[in-house]
């Protein structure tokens, strides 16, 4: 980690004001430190000189006043740091989230969702240490350290020189050790990620493992993975802690050196006791900020490492193509002309053309993996492809996925959101219409699901079949409410029984009778029978499965 990451500061613009405020507080705190040390020195020397309580009162009062001031300032410093960190974190989190649409659905699907979720949640929280502790402490060091060193110089030249010699050694060592651990830090963060991914994989597949009697073996595996992690982490820590050790050693040895040198000069009567005590009290305070920078450095490094992942996303977004063009209204048949989709250098869909007519149901069948779902994603504009998509003769290829108002798409995975059934069915509608939502549910054979039912994350609380039907209702609602006349459904009945399937099929016919152009991907003969037309895709020798 570099001491200051310019990119991090650039992305967290709003935290700057708090850093400035932190600097002002640090300056005030420096004055309070000097006052406190002076008060203690004065009281001590007065008492040793046998002064009266009257003479003593001002310096004792001064100690108390400075302590009160420091109390107030430390509260202010804590609050300011936390506020700045919160701002910075939120800003970075939202910047990354705003960049995701530009990268598109295809990019997101190729990224591990667990990794991304960890990064945006827990991962960025690690930045707290950077913005609330490390950075303010760095600023504090820049203010307090020279100020106090200057005061020591003014009091006692030799002590000042000792400080001047020992202080620069600390950052030099820190940089050297920091350089040595940088790559190791990165590896450790990757390791932590892998560890959480493998833990989650085991937890997710636990029932499968149980079927095969392999669950006990995972316990040993987890144990050995964690132990490997311990070994590698300890190797890093041995070096990481070394920089802390050097810091501590330099700081405390310098203070010891000062104390001994002052002591021997006091014996000679070269300096007065006042100066000796004052310098002794100030010296640790000179080193304190720089020691704390060291303490926070490694905690901050973890946050900075996490932010590197965020920057990678932002860089990718900057490199992504410009947003596509705006909405074009259109009515009429849907036509695909010579569409080819290549993923990982393999053709998923090759030279596919088709025409779907308004007022009819088109069924698309084909073996699993033939590219049926991909075809629908092409229509939705979510998958990069060659060839073109036309609606009523208008070329829609360049229209962004969010602007295809003529289309309503129900993917195989309904991806429901936390909220109510109503909020899911009326997704994206600023003014939900309850009656239309009910009608959509009925048409999707989901009239038995109550609209006010609460769903958890990812639609938790519904069975697979129920979630599928709510996803279908959501699609119908959009079609009716916003006049999307092209309706594409991806395996809408794969989790439904035959009776329910018939209700869904009748719903599709109704929609077609109303003039809609319905395209349904399915391998279920019962559903395909209801279609006006059926095409099979991927029916070539090279696509067997």
């Amino acid at each position: 980690m570099r001491p200051l990451d310019p990119r991090l500061l650039r992305y967290a613009r709003s935290s700057r004001g708090f850093l400035v405020l932190g600097a002002v507080l640090a300056l005030a705190d420096t004055l309070a430190i000097i006052g406190f040390a002076w008060g203690v020195t004065a009281s001590l020397t007065h008492i040793i000189d046998g002064a009266s309580w009257q003479e003593l009162a001002p310096s004792l009062g001064g100690i108390a006043a400075c302590a009160a001031a420091r109390a107030l300032l430390s509260w202010g410093t804590e609050a300011t740091g936390a506020r700045g960190a919160a701002r910075a974190k939120s800003e970075l989190r939202m910047t990354v989230l705003t960049a995701l649409p530009r990268l598109g659905a295809e990019w997101l699907e190729n990224t591990q969702s667990a990794r991304l979720t960890t990064l945006l949640g827990h991962g960025l929280d690690a930045l707290d240490d950077y913005f609330a502790r490390y950075l303010p402490q760095l600023i504090r060091t820049a203010i307090t350290l020279p100020a106090l060193a200057l005061v020591v110089f003014g009091q006692d030249l030799l002590s000042g020189i000792i400080l001047l010699v020992t202080l620069p050694i600390i950052p030099i060592f820190m940089v050297l050790i920091g350089l040595a651990t940088r790559t190791v830090q990165r590896r450790q963060w990757d390791g932590l990620n892998r560890l959480s991914a493998s833990f989650l994989d085991v937890v997710g597949g636990l029932s499968t493992l149980k079927v095969f009697g392999r669950e006990k073996r995972q316990i040993d595996r987890m144990s050995s993975i964690t132990d490997d992690y311990r070994r590698s982490t300890m190797a890093v820590l041995r070096i990481s802690f070394l920089s802390g050790f050097v810091l501590e050693l330099m700081a405390s040895l310098s203070v010891a050196l000062l104390a001994v040198s002052i002591g021997f000069r006091l014996v000679d009567g070269a300096i007065p006791l006042t100066v000796g005590l004052f310098v002794l009290l100030l010296a640790p305070e000179v080193f304190l900020p720089i020691r704390q920078v060291g303490t926070h450095f490694h905690a901050a490094a973890e946050g900075v490492e996490a932010s590197q992942d965020a920057f990678e996303i932002l860089d990718a977004a900057e490199a992504a193509p410009e947003p596509q063009c705006a909405s074009l209204s259109a009515s009429g048949d849907l036509e695909l002309r010579d569409v080819t989709v290549v993923r990982d250098e393999t053709a998923v869909l090759e030279h596919q053309s088709l025409r779907a007519r308004c007022g009819s149901v088109l069924a698309i069948t084909g073996d699993s993996g033939a590219g049926k779902s991909t075809l629908l994603r092409v229509i939705a504009g979510l998958t990069p492809h060659t060839g073109s998509v036309h609606v009523g003769g208008v070329d829609m290829t360049a229209v962004s996925p969010g602007e295809r108002s003529w289309l309503s798409w129900a993917p195989q995975n309904p991806a429901l959101q936390a909220g109510t059934v109503l909020s899911n069915v009326t997704l994206g509608d600023p003014a939900p219409d309850v009656r239309q939502a009910e009608r959509a549910l009925q048409r999707a054979a989901a009239g038995d699901i109550k609209l006010d039912r609460n769903l958890g994350t990812a639609g938790m609380g519904l069975s697979g079949g129920e979630a599928q039907r709510v996803g279908l209702a959501r699609c119908y609602y959009r079609a009716q409410r916003f006049g999307a006349h092209i309706i594409v459904l991806d395996e809408p009945t794969s989790a439904l029984d035959r009776r329910t399937e018939q209700i869904v099929a009748r719903g599709l016919r109704e929609l077609a009778a109303g003039g809609a152009c319905v395209i349904v991907v399915s391998h279920r003969p019962a559903l395909v029978e209801w279609a006006d037309e059926c095409i099979t895709i991927g029916d070539r020798a090279e696509v067997l499965v």
Partner: protein, 558 residues
């Protein structure tokens, strides 16, 4: 979390998180040594300087000068050792903590975990287990070290001046109480609401990331992003309140440090004689509080960590209590010795079953006999109890009535999974290669055997096209289609060669033409090795493939 059972559960988890005494001892001793070095360094320096000002022969100062240097060195060395020893002890404990959580999860999966979403499992397991590591590192050790050092220092001061020791002890106790109060009441109140707010944010992010294509298409992407922003803002507000509490505790420490010094100076001044002797001892008494307060400044932080650790333990205890719900089968029964009974006739008599937390039985009074080698189909609409039956057959769910395999009650059978296999409705694929996803079914299988099995389920060409057995399946099988996942799952079950195989909705995601072929392959293999098959499906299965068919309606077979 107030009931005694919950407290006992929490304590059990906390005990698991705490390394053994033998392991924490080196770190703790190093910490105490470091704390004492800090105090001794300041005391010796103060004595040295004030004594030197009296201009004694240099000989009287050399001991002190050596002491100052030695304590400075000791401080740094012991600090390094403390950190190294204590971290090592904690990481050693982490493996046991993780495996303990896994051990608690195993009997519950999948029937006992249905109400946990993946996002909250992530939070619960990763965050809470990580948090528990702090118990020894940031709670127990700092408190033990700080209190020990403070007590020893006060005792040392008492040797010089008992009154000064009393004043010091009073300010230390006041500081401890005040700072702890500030962190526990002010910061603690916000701390408690921090975890649910964090989970809310994680859930909003998960919904956004996983639902992204849908959100974009439905024009709801901005609203979902807004949901994340709102959750983030709520979390921030709570975090700021907490920070304010920390600030208060820091303020109390700073204030009381000042007061302790003022008190020590006032009380200690009596040690200075009118002729000026007693100055060095007075300086020690006046300045040592500065060092002691530095050491006990770690206590409020530790108290704060304790609260976080405790709520993590509570969460884990709530999700994974030691006590299993009655609907979940207990481990074991008697080990059978012979892992698979030779007679694989399956008999159900009056079997009923219920999901954890459910009011009513999902299965009532089911009678069924499946002879060895027989193929049985169980039809029914969704929600009729078909999947419940599958869960009972592989002992994911506890049952009432009698369920016997080869005449032995399944409950008393050591390992039902040696006999009854299951192809799940949503097969789980591990983020690994095709080979690894098959091998865990039978790890002695050769590549040739794997390829033969893949051919049997119709995946031979697919695997060849993807570069062989090393092809990866992606996170949660993201790189394979639903049908391919089912085929891989069937391949695993064939590889394991279960005497009885339950297929839970195998055709849900497989095209109709191939489903027929697949089932035929399967049944051919079954008759040659005497395997029985129970197919659960809402789809029709062609007549010649099935010996007998049943229909399930509202939890009973008809």
């Amino acid at each position: 979390m107030t009931s005694t059972a919950d407290v006992r559960e929490r304590r059990r988890i906390l005990r698991r998180a705490l390394p053994r005494f033998r392991q924490v001892l080196p770190g703790m001793l190093s910490g105490i040594a470091m704390g004492l070095a800090i105090v001794a360094l300041l005391a010796t320096s103060a004595w040295l300087i004030v004594r030197a000002a009296e201009q004694p022969p240099v000989l009287f100062l050399t001991m002190a000068a050596v002491g100052v240097r030695a304590f400075a060195l000791a401080r740094a060395v012991f600090r390094y050792l403390e950190r190294l020893y204590s971290h090592d002890a904690v990481f050693r404990q982490l493996a046991s903590l993780r495996t303990d959580v896994l051990r608690r999860l195993i009997p519950r999966a999948p029937a006992g975990l249905t109400d946990r979403s993946r996002g909250s499992l992530l939070t619960a397991v990763v965050t809470d287990v990580d948090e528990l590591q702090n118990l020894s590192l940031r709670v127990v050790q700092p408190i033990v070290v700080a209190v020990t050092v403070a007590v020893l220092s006060v005792a040392g001061i008492a040797l010089l001046s008992p009154t000064a020791a009393v004043v010091l002890a009073i300010t230390l106790v006041l500081c401890g109480i005040g700072a702890t109060w500030a962190t526990s009441t002010v910061a603690g109140a916000s701390e408690r609401s921090l975890a649910p707010k964090r989970e809310e944010l994680a859930s909003a992010i998960l919904d956004y990331v996983q639902g992204f294509p849908v959100l974009v298409h439905y024009g709801a992407e901005a609203a979902a992003r807004e949901r994340v922003r709102m959750a983030d803002a709520r979390l921030t507000r709570t975090a700021l309140r907490r920070a304010s509490g920390f600030g208060l505790s820091a303020a109390i420490i700073a204030l009381l440090t000042g007061l302790a010094v003022v008190g020590a100076i006032s009380v200690g001044s009596t040690l200075v004689m009118p002729d000026g002797t007693g100055g060095p001892v007075f300086a020690v008494i006046a300045l040592t509080p500065l060092a002691i307060f530095e050491v006990i400044g770690t206590i409020p932080v530790a108290v704060n960590h304790w609260r976080a650790v405790r709520s993590s333990a509570d969460r884990l205890a709530a999700t994974l209590p030691e006590e299993l719900p009655v609907e979940i089968p207990r481990e074991g029964g008697a080990p059978t010795g012979t892992s698979a009974p030779t007679d694989t006739r399956l008999t159900l008599q009056g079997v009923s079953a219920r999901w954890p937390g459910a009011e009513e039985n999902a299965l009532t009074d089911v009678d069924l006999v499946v002879e060895p080698g027989e193929s049985v189909l169980i039809e029914g609409s969704s929600g009729s109890g078909k999947s419940t039956l599958a869960n009972v057959l592989v002992r994911f769910l506890e049952y009432g009535g009698s369920y016997r395999i080869g005449g032995v009650e399944a409950r008393s059978l050591g390992d039902v999974h040696a006999t009854v296999g299951l192809c799940e409705q949503h097969p789980y694929l591990f983020d690994d290669s095709v080979r690894q996803n098959l091998l865990f079914a039978r790890d002695t299988a050769t590549d040739e055997e794997l390829l033969v099995i893949l051919d049997q389920v119709g995946l031979g060409d697919w695997v060849a096209a993807r570069g062989g057995l090393d092809a990866r399946v992606g996170e949660r099988g993201a790189l394979v289609s639903g049908g391919q996942a089912q085929r891989l799952s069937l391949a695993r079950a064939l590889l394991r060669d279960f005497p009885i195989l339950v297929l839970d909705e195998p055709t849900a995601n497989v095209d109709a033409a191939r489903a027929g072929v697949l089932l035929r392959d399967l049944i051919t293999a079954a008759t040659s090795t005497g395997r029985s098959i129970i197919v659960i499906s809402h789809d029709d299965v062609p007549a010649p493939l099935i010996d007998r068919r049943f229909s399930m309606r509202e939890g009973t077979l008809v």
